[in-house]
Subunit: 390 residues, 2 copies
């Protein structure tokens, strides 16, 4: 049985970024840029007005504050005439500054007559209210580096520079297989010996939170059914998450099915609680995570192993644990790393009651998992713990 | 012109939670519970085994550690026989404990023969390895309070209790209308006087991050087109976000169109930078946010006004600003609240360069907005600022 850090290392060694592909910018939300993006144009592409007002040549103010208004230019159009001495053009926000003009006075700081305008702005300087061509970015300038995760701000920035496609790492396709003859779907009448299946909806929601889609499959405790399903899914998905059947009992068919199919099993069993039976394998090109069937164990393993692996595959980094000061007392036996459902707040962390692997009520109240190292046994207020925000 | 706190107050007064509806549990992800959820059953619904092992009556150990194995029970089935003195049943994880048994010994702590088993676990006590009926929750117990936002952990918890439907506040339906004759879509060739439209993709991504869907419309600077579109959309969406045309110039048709349609305009113009022209109105049952066309202004108003309003409508709370210590120096004029693109880290906040309302490059590097109050002018390292994480 390997330790938690050994298990992490094995996953980091095996899992690589998926290939990149080029997608429409709106579809790249939450994906990681595989190539830097360079500007196709200067942005703004032309000098333009920051205000509704009048565009003129600043030097003309030395002659008179009075200007003849010889034309008008609104956003989206251009003024193609020539400005003579003390001539101005009516201009609106975003409109292209006429070639001969260099300054805009906002309309609130003018006196307007039928065909003339008087500039009354005493603070105006050369270039006032003009947004210069290329002042956001110059053509060929790097706009966003590779490795950045694309958020709404980057989408806006790239769109404003005219970019409509980007090259990003693919997001892994994920399939969830729940196993267990004892499971029935929520909403159906409860039958003797049966319990409600919760792993599929729970893990599906956890993946939706990562902006990933999943396929859901249920399988009974049959070696043949499980083998068939694994063989089929391993050819068409990047990651298979199986819950249940991963221990070493008479009804635990995950490891035997994988062995029969010739999968490479990297580890099976980790010195941890919950989630000791955790299995990590590869079949064809699909990585397989065998999680315990107990919902709290399955979710703990998802957060600590599967989610970081999914991050690596899409070009993100393995999440770092943060640190927080323990607020309460906790004891455990030596020999296993414990991942405990906890509440973090203001730099403190409180370990919740109800850590048993089949209990989800403490998870529903938690906002982080705290890590209790393998060899430690007593935990007192004030100790620094590693925590994983959920 | 009203102040920022006045604008916030008006929105809080006008905007209410949307009606609630009952949805399938998986569809409730990121929704807010409108009614508490009560348990339909005890969970677990029966005493069950935490281990693969043997179930027996603990009192029988006083006679002998040797038991006759008279049956077997796996997860999902039940054992309907009767245990006589020093009789045991083979049992697997999750299986129902036979009525006469009270304790399970894990198989690793037994010696197994053909029809008998010897218990060798010296630490075993009454009830060992038995998960008691109702130990997660009892029938009729409240599982989750109203007001909780449903995350993957709550989905798992409720599913494990057999819940397949919940009553949640509806998420608002949102329509984004971009206006501006000067706009062309990214990817098309740039034409004189035109700029690339970025607000629709940017705001759509911001809404996707909130797990909300949108409809996108583009409208030129035409009073008639805008009126028609507003009239149609106001009957079928909860929130309309318009970008551009919201100032008071000759080509700003948002306010005139709303007035013509008989909309109630709650405010138009706020003492802030960016986003001074911000407009908030209601037409039929749709709330309308008129945001400036400049992408950075539009996004700033989205984060500070629209997103909090969308939170209120779906039963969440108005987001609280956090505080952080300023790391650099900044100056501004008195009279407007400034929302400045900034980077927060380890309790410190640094105001970025490039705060002009048409620049998105600083937004692409920001992770928060800092709030610079209306009357303040000088900001020095060590001052405490309010920040809104993005």
């Amino acid at each position: 049985m390997i330790s938690v850090p050994e298990a992490f290392d094995i996953i980091k060694q095996q899992v690589n970024k998926l290939p990149c592909h080029t997608v429409a910018l709106p579809q790249a939300f939450n994906c990681v840029l595989a190539k830097p993006v360079f500007a196709l144009y200067d942005t703004p592409p032309f000098n333009n007005s920051a205000m509704d007002g009048y565009a003129f040549r600043f030097a003309d103010l030395q002659y008179s504050p009075n200007f003849s208004v010889i034309g008008s230019v609104s956003a989206g159009s251009t003024f193609n005439g020539t400005l003579m001495k003390n001539e101005a053009v009516r201009i609106f926000t975003g409109a292209c500054i006429p070639v001969d003009a260099d300054t805009v006075v906002m309309q609130e700081k003018t006196i307007q007559n039928t065909h003339t305008v008087t500039v009354t702005d005493e603070e105006i300087t050369l270039g006032s209210n003009v947004r210069l061509k290329g002042s956001q970015n110059k053509v060929n300038e790097m706009l966003v580096r590779a490795g950045n995760s694309i958020n709404e701000m980057i989408i806006g920035y790239l769109a404003s520079a005219g970019i409509d496609k980007v090259t990003v790492y693919q997001k892994p396709s994920v399939c969830i297989i729940t196993t267990g003859t004892e499971l029935i779907m929520p909403g159906l009448p409860l039958q003797p010996g049966k319990i409600f299946e919760s792993n599929s909806w729970m893990l599906n929601a956890a993946l939706n939170k990562m902006f990933m889609q999943t396929q859901l499959y249920a399988c009974d405790d049959s070696m043949q059914h499980l083998s068939n399903l694994l063989a089929a899914k391993a050819t068409e998905t990047d990651v298979i998450i199986i819950t249940g059947g991963v221990s070493v009992g008479d009804y635990d068919f995950v490891a035997p099915a994988l062995k029969q199919l010739g999968a490479q099993i990297f580890f099976h069993k980790v010195k941890q609680k919950p989630g000791k039976p955790l299995l990590f394998a590869k079949l064809n090109n699909a990585f397989i995570f065998g999680l315990p069937g107990n919902p709290a164990s399955a979710l703990s393993c998802f957060y600590n192993y599967v989610k970081p692996a999914l991050h690596l595959m899409q070009g993100m980094v393995w999440p770092m644990y943060q640190t927080a000061l323990l607020q309460n007392t906790f004891q455990k036996k030596e020999g296993l790393t414990h991942f405990v459902k906890s509440v973090c707040n203001n730099g403190g962390v409180t370990i919740l009651n109800g850590q048993e692997s089949y209990l989800l009520n403490s998870f529903a109240a938690a906002n982080c998992m705290a890590v209790l190292p393998e060899t430690a046994t007593h935990f007192e207020p004030g100790m620094t713990l590693e925590v994983l925000p959920l």
